[in-house]
Amino acid sequence: MPHLEVRNLSASYGDLKVLHGVDLSFEKGEVVALIGPSGSGKSTILRVLVGLTPCTGGEMILDGQAIQQGSAASVRAARDKMAIVFQQYNLFQNMDVMRNVTIAPIKIKGRSRAEAEADAQRILKRVGLAEKSHAYPDELSGGQQQRVAIARALALKPEVLLLDEVTSALDPELVNEVLDTIRDLAKDGMTMLIVSHEMAFVREVASKVVMMDKGKVVEVGTPAEIFDRPRSERAREFVGKILRH
């Protein structure tokens, strides 16, 4: 049984339909990359999964449990197993790095402060920011903020980590520090669903690539299949455009 399974998912922002029956599934330990032109609905899938955007139809099953958006308990249970990192980091501006990383473990998951802080220190070290634990978000560079955001997500000990275009808002010279962190997580067997425009990176870390267009899945396959031997016309077009860059 797949760890996460999405069947026939649809969603809309007001009148605008952004997902038309998306199917998606993956196992534990997989790194799945969602690619496709902007506006194809990649980010919407992540937002629907964590209950930030309502879905209008379809099913989501995480670890054998259906995520029912109508039920607060079900959404809570799903959020308990997933963590999301946003394009704009969305760190809490009123808290220092340590507090950003520990607040949810302490207040939501009920861990002790000592335990949560030791854990946070370990995670911050891993993302290379051990010495920044008392800095505030507005004192950090974009790349550092994004790594804190990843640390904050990891501190929740998620089963699935959702990364929503985490390098898109960064200056080019800061992209690599964040990609290195994610590469490191992939090596450790973290299950991840990544929305990214960094094709070389996707090719390197993803075990599965899902190509989307206009709210639909166009093609699914290994990186080699998608990038070297795209089957559909739309995929060929998109890949061709990217590789020319």
Partner: protein, 235 residues
Amino acid sequence: MEQILHQLPEFFSPTNVRILAQSMGVTIALTFFGCGLGFLFAFFIVFARQTPGHWALPLRAAAIFFVEIFRRIPFLVTGYLVLFFLSAIIRNPSLFVIALMAIFIYATAYTADIVRGGLESVPRTQIEAAQAMNFGRWRTLLHVIVPQSWPVILPPAMVFMVAFVKDTAVVSQLGVFELAFRGRELNNHGFSGVLVYSTIALLYFAMSYPLTRFGQWLEKRLATPRSQKSKRKLR
């Protein structure tokens, strides 16, 4: 003019000075406690107004109604409403409490909009980050929204409170022994109106102006981002 100069020593007698000082204390206490309580309650009004769901419709309506109504009634009328209403239901209510309640109601209605603006100024993305981490509504408010809205809320709330130091003069009509009441009393005792009301005006000014400057200083300070503040410390 001669008459005024003649009255000066008697007007500034120790007794009068003491009475005026005491009444200034009453004015400050009324402003501080009335506005302070009103400010706190304004948060609850706004929370009520922002409660989602069909069941909360009456709650939202009541919150909007309260604010809209009391912002459209003169403060003096609010004072009389409280006075006559309390007199109708209990015997001999304390005038200080009546004045305090009137200020409380008025301050709640006026600061509620300030609070609402502040809470709504926090970016939606901050709230989404909290939601995705399973913060409930109250935790999101307490840990994320309220702390971040302080710099937006505090300066105008301060301006309101400072402005209210002088607006409290109106409660003299309810018979509270605050500064304006004592002024009217001294005038009735035969002291020159020019002398009395100039003095009273200056005393209000002495309370209000320093607070105005403090409010302006606070606004500037809060407008400085934290990163610049810490840099300043390093130098």
